[in-house]
């Protein structure tokens, strides 16, 4: 009996400590890049809000492969919480990490960090970046309350915020066209309906264009006009939280020429609107996410298309400016890794890849 007991005790103790050997294993899921980063583009994985798991992936055009976790692997630290966008400018990547209140600046080739422009520099809730010239850039920022949005002016030499321009509620995507910057005010935690034109020489607002409720995304076509999409506005009853249809508005796509809305096509439903608008390399065909699919629309259209080009719900959408491929980010939820799907410009799936959580956009 005594002998048996000793054996049992030995067994249990051994079992107890066998767990130790599992403790130090780590998955290192991507090696450092070995090819020129010029030959690819970045996939921005937003992560789950508050879960500190945003990551950056890189697609290599030469061998059609994807490297995940490239920021962490190059810099030996996590990227942060909730990356909203990334913009390549002047050989540098400007990664805008909203809940971490920072813009991470990396070398486009090596992915190594050049600077962090963070809360100490005055960044609060940043969304998108645009480069004006090699020493100057703008970042849209929602502000602490999600309502008092600003444009932060960045010095790209010293990586400091040099001034702050109040701009509207929830400033989101912005674009530089003919030495003017156009900023969409997407509403943030409230609502707005304007696109604001800023003179980057003087950092002043020169025009405010009322375009439709909560414009979030914009692009420019071959003729130099601006296309803006917005989600419309949802108004809920404060008592029973039902949708107040009379006060809610439908989403839209609008064309702005010479600071005037010349075309505005509304969705046929409230609560539904186009988002993530982008355009083909020729500047003729608009692509956007809408009604659970990807739609393509000629810049000459006057109505929204009724059938999707790709009948699948995505979280992020982009067009490869080199190949014209349609790039889609699929996010099943915010707690599992998503996929990056590469389609031909006609909507045929070429290849799919596993990337990080919630791929929301691409940077070229």
């Amino acid at each position: 009996m005594q002998y048996n007991l000793q054996r049992l005790a030995t067994f249990i103790v051994l079992t107890l400590f066998s767990g130790l050997i599992f403790f130090s294993c780590k998955v290192d899921d991507s090696p450092a890049p070995s090819v020129s980063a010029q030959d690819g583009y970045f996939i921005i994985n937003e992560g789950g809000f508050g879960n500190a798991n945003t990551t950056l992936s890189f697609y290599n055009r030469q061998d059609n492969s994807v490297l995940n976790n490239v920021f962490r692997n190059a810099n030996n630290r996590p990227l942060g919480d909730q990356t909203q966008s990334m913009t390549i400018f002047d050989g540098r990547g400007f990664i805008v990490v909203q809940n971490s209140s920072k813009v991470e600046v990396i070398d486009r080739e090596t992915f190594e960090s050049l600077a962090t422009i963070g809360p100490d520099e005055g960044i609060i809730s940043p969304r998108h970046f645009v480069g004006i010239n090699p020493t100057k850039g703008y970042v849209t920022d929602w502000g602490a309350d999600g309502l008092s949005g600003t444009l932060k002016v960045l010095d790209l030499d010293s990586y400091q915020v040099t001034s702050t321009i109040p701009i509207g509620a929830g400033p989101n995507e912005l674009i530089l066209i003919d030495n003017r910057v156009y900023v969409t005010n997407s509403g943030g935690l409230g609502s707005d309906n304007t696109v604001v034109e800023v003179d980057p020489q003087t950092d002043t607002i020169v025009n405010t264009i009322v375009v439709g409720d909560n414009p979030s995304s914009l692009t420019t076509d071959a003729e130099g006009s601006i296309w803006v999409v917005g989600g419309g506005k949802l108004v809920y009853d404060p008592v029973d939280f039902s949708l107040v249809e009379e006060e809610s508005t439908a989403g839209f796509i609008a064309r702005i020429v010479n600071n005037k809305v010349t075309v505005k096509i509304s969705s046929d439903e409230i609560n539904v609107g186009p988002s993530s608008v982008t355009i083909d390399p020729g500047g003729q065909i608009l692509y956007f996410r809408y009604k659970g699919g990807v739609y393509a629309m000629s810049t000459t259209n006057t109505t929204l298309p009724t059938t999707p080009l790709i009948d699948q719900r995505f979280y992020g959408l982009g067009i490869d400016p080199v190949s014209g491929d349609i790039l889609a980010g699929e996010a099943p939820n915010f707690s599992s890794n998503g996929s990056f799907l590469r389609y031909s410009s006609t909507g045929n799936l070429i290849q799919g890849y596993s990337v990080g959580i919630a791929p929301n956009s691409f940077a070229f």
Binding site: A52, N68, A331, S354
Partner: protein, 652 residues
């Protein structure tokens, strides 16, 4: 003679081993470490009071762990979450030191192991959880963990197991009390007072505490690449627990307990955030339970009613004072019959009414009525074989729930060994948030309850030597959960919950407990636990993510190892506790993970006898002595090395 006493006497004749096992299960009402010679045991048993026949008598084939005996050197200022994290097989999911802590047992979800206080389920009707970090250890005299599916005995929610909390029994005659003052790192201070008075007829016990901690511990922020102090992580709590016991007649007991607790917690947010989170949560709890029992020779009847109130006031950077209020009323009657020397029968009924007013549910409060009947039968078939079956049926508003059966068998293979096996069904009702939330994300009124079958097979060994007590337990379990609920993106915008997946959780639990008494001056004690848990998605329904099929659930480590050891020499006690938690996936396709970690605490205590009736003791502990940087949840750092010291004055 039939009844309680005769049962135990006759059972003694049936074999000493039975008594040892009975002692284990009845141990909740006995000094846990005082198993004496068997002849003495009979005398103790004859005076035993059955305070929870479901746990003490009808769970004899379940794995039940007492938590406090191995909690060596634990400070009264610890909370239930910390106790379970260090001294049980529970996987405590925690958002840092003052953040929400919930229990996952045997690979189940966070809301699948409810906490019962004095037999009353404290799960919130709004979100299905109870924050373990808000439960002060000072108010808990007994903490038992019952493993496995327990639907027949305890009803909804018990898919992984149950945590039972109780006060000590009715205070004995006379006046006694204690007062303690504790100080700790990061602005921790706590004061507690306990007074009790009893006579033959009645007794009263009152305890109160006040606790404050800033939790502004230093840590290396890997996201900001610098040393920082944790901000906005303070906690402020105060509470009072009053218990009144009265003997109405020779065999009739009445008791009423009221627990009032006020908590104010700063929620620090993720360390990767650039701007300090300003969210705060204030929870006010009222818990009132009244209990009456009548014990005859062959029958015990118990009636119980409880009223629970919870007021939750949340505000953050963007919104102020979102006030939610929930109340529950529970009425329960149960009868235990001693049919003959070998058969016991439990019959009972429970009615639970829940109501919650939350702004996001709309103008009308959510409410639910549940009426259950339950029956359990336990028999000793042969000398060495016992079995029990149980059934529960519940009317939920106007719908009958599925019948919850359970079947368990235990076989004593020898003097020291026992084999046991069990199969049982349980379910978990959707919370009011799951059903009635409205806005961009919205609840789903068509949700089905999560349901599950759990089975286990265990072997226990408990030899009894003169000076050496040893107890071992090895259990393999397998739980199958269907209609597991998850919030998934809606067709338009926002999120909504659906019954999305089937989950299979299986694994092993092993514990070893040993105590060696050299003489009255020197005692050695050690305890160890290892658990292996594999909990995977076996089927993904519409709305779920097919890429997560066969993957391990997130924040469910494969391996957990926990151990404690203590030496008591005269008036000194030295102890140490170690936790080894394996890596856990933080992402459902099992690519991203949180590294495993190890923490070690040491403690030292000394006790003076000032006078016959007056004692003074000093307890101190140094936690995370190796200053290991770790996270229990990604982005939520835990404190490095820190201390606690308390001085306790006791009189009786």
């Amino acid at each position: 003679m039939r009844g309680w006493q005769s049962y135990f006497s006759i059972n003694l004749a049936a074999g000493q081993a039975w008594l040892v096992w009975l002692m284990l299960w009845l141990g909740g009402t006995l000094p846990h470490r005082s198993l004496a010679q068997l002849s003495d045991t009979v005398k103790i048993l004859q005076n035993i009071e059955v305070t929870d026949s479901r746990l003490q008598l009808f769970s004899s084939s379940d794995q039940v762990s007492e938590i406090l005996p191995q909690a060596t050197g634990y400070a009264a200022s610890n909370n239930l979450g910390q106790l379970l994290m260090k001294y049980s097989a529970v996987n405590v999911r925690s958002y840092g030191i003052s953040g929400l802590s919930t229990a996952s047992l045997r690979g189940s979800g966070s809301n699948h192991t409810p906490v019962f206080w004095e037999g009353i389920n404290l799960q919130s009707s709004m979100n299905g959880s109870l924050d373990l970090s808000l439960m002060p250890a000072f108010f808990l005299d007994e903490v038992s963990l019952q493993h496995g599916s327990l639907g027949a005995l305890y009803g909804a929610g018990t898919l992984g197991g149950a945590i039972h909390l109780r006060s000590a029994q009715k205070p004995s005659s006379g006046t006694s009390g204690k007062i303690f003052q504790q100080l700790g790192s990061f602005g921790e201070r706590q004061t507690g007072v306990q007074l009790q008075y009893g006579n033959q007829q009645s007794a009263v016990r009152i305890r109160a505490f006040h606790r404050q901690a800033d939790n502004n511990f230093p840590y290396y922020n890997i996201y900001r690449v610098r040393l920082e102090e944790r901000q906005h992580a303070g906690i402020h709590q105060r509470g009072i627990l009053t218990e009144f016991y009265h003997k109405l007649a020779e065999r009739q007991q009445f008791e009423v307990k009221y627990w009032l607790q006020d908590n104010y917690v700063e929620l620090p947010g993720v360390a990767a955030a650039g701007v300090t989170n300003r969210a705060t949560q204030a929870d006010l709890f009222h818990r009132l339970v009244a209990n009456w029992s009548l014990t005859n020779e062959n029958h015990q009847i118990r009636a119980k009613t409880a009223l629970l109130g919870h007021q939750l006031d949340y505000s953050d950077n963007f919104s102020e004072n979102a006030l939610s209020e929930a109340i529950s009323w529970v009425a329960e009657v149960e009868s235990t019959f001693f049919l003959d020397e070998k058969q016991w029968l439990l019959v009972g009924g429970n009615h639970t009414y829940e109501q919650a007013s939350v702004s996001s549910y709309g103008a009308k409060p959510a409410q639910r009525n549940r009426t259950s009947i339950f029956v359990s039968y336990q028999t000793q078939l042969y000398d060495r074989l016992e079995g029990s079956i149980g059934l529960r049926e519940t009317l939920i508003d106007r719908t009958w729930s599925p019948i919850l059966p359970s079947l368990s068998v235990a076989y004593s293979t020898g003097k020291y060994w026992k084999l046991r096996t069990k199969i049982a069904r349980s379910y978990n009702l959707p919370t009011f948030n799951d059903l009635y939330w409205s806005g961009v994300s919205r609840g789903n009124p068509d949700l089905q309850p999560e349901s599950g079958w759990g089975t286990d097979l265990g072997v226990e060994v408990k030899p009894n030597f003169n000076h050496w007590k040893l107890q071992g337990n090895l259990t393999a379990f397998s739980n199958w959960f269907d209609n597991w609920l998850q919030w998934v993106p809606r067709a338009g915008v926002g999120w909504s919950p659906v019954n999305v997946q089937q989950v299979w959780a299986r694994g092993l639990e092993a514990t070893l407990e040993s105590q060696y008494t050299f003489d009255e001056n020197l005692t050695l004690q050690c305890w160890g636990l290892y658990s292996f848990t594999r909990s995977t998605k076996e089927a993904i329904k519409a709305g779920g993510n097919p890429a997560t099929l066969n993957q391990q659930l997130i924040y469910t480590p494969y391996h957990q190892g926990k151990a404690s050891a203590s030496v008591r020499y005269q008036r000194w006690e030295v102890g140490s506790t170690t936790n080894l938690i394996g890596q856990q996936f933080t992402e459902e396709t099992n690519i991203q993970l949180l590294p495993g970690y190890a923490t070690t605490d040491i403690s030292l205590a000394y006790q003076w006898f000032i006078h016959d009736r007056h004692q003074l003791s000093v307890n101190s502990s140094l936690n995370n002595i190796f200053n290991h940087a770790y996270e229990v949840r990604q982005g939520y750092p835990m404190p490095g090395r820190h201390y606690q010291i308390s001085i306790i004055y006791q009189f009786n």
